[in-house]
């Protein structure tokens, strides 16, 4: 009986994080809440497979992304197909005094390829280490690092951050995957 209460309490506490990750995956509040609902149901049914002492959040995020990508595999492929040219089609968001408006940032984030947005959220916002994020996404740590780097580059491009020429002149010449990252596993 108490195990059920503990499970419910733990899942309740993770609902805000699950919603945030779901919104970053789906790009939509409505679809995000559907995804959270499915994730909670799957997690509840499979809670016996959770290893005590490991990160419940990481376990839940893994379930969520598996659910999302198994449903949206086709859509995801289509996004990745145009990934190479996406940056050129982005509507540049003018920034003032180098300050990025939150709404503009959100727009730029939505325009990232899903795997890059996901990597940025896991590393930059959710507080996971590269190792944990790679585990959640089922990829190599080096892959996670290059996704984060490419996500940052795309954000910079789509936000047309002012003053870049002055303070980041090396930006345009950057390789897609810096050697320091590609060399690591």
């Amino acid at each position: 009986m108490t195990a059920i209460t503990a499970l419910k309490t733990a899942l309740l506490a993770e609902l805000p994080s699950l919603r945030a990750f779901a919104i970053s995956l789906t790009g939509s509040h409505d679809r995000a809440d559907d995804l959270v609902q499915e994730t909670v149901m799957k997690a509840w049914a499979a809670h016996a497979s959770f290893t005590e002492g490991t990160s419940l959040r990481a376990w839940l995020f893994t379930i969520m992304r598996n659910t999302f990508f198994s449903q949206h595999r086709k859509a995801r492929r289509e996004v990745q197909d145009v990934d190479g040219v996406a940056a050129g089609r982005l509507v540049s968001v003018p920034t003032q005094h180098g300050h990025v408006d939150l709404a503009d940032f959100r727009t730029a984030l939505e325009q990232l390829a899903p795997d890059q947005r996901e990597a940025l959220i896991l590393i930059g916002a959710s507080g996971f280490s590269y190792e944990e994020a790679a585990e959640i996404c089922g990829c190599a740590v080096g892959t996670m690092k290059s996704r984060v780097n490419r996500a940052r580059q795309k954000l910079m491009q789509s936000l047309s951050i002012d003053g870049l020429d002055d303070i980041g002149s090396g930006f345009a010449a950057l390789p897609a995957e810096p050697a320091a990252v590609a060399g690591e596993r």
Binding site: M1, T5, K8, D33, F105, A125, L174
Partner: protein, 66 residues
Amino acid sequence: MSDPKHASHRIPGLAEPVQAHLGEKLKEFYGSILSEPVPDRLTALLDELEKQERAALAARAKGGDE
């Protein structure tokens, strides 16, 4: 992103202030979602799952007597 141990993974040539600003925006974006109230249907779902689980346990306990 502000974690010093990740500093070596920054893109060379990207100014620290720019990266720091983007990092702050990312956390602000994420934080704004975290602070949104959780929709009732999600908390109601957990109430329902708990109810079903207890009912299933009770049924199993009864069945065990037979």
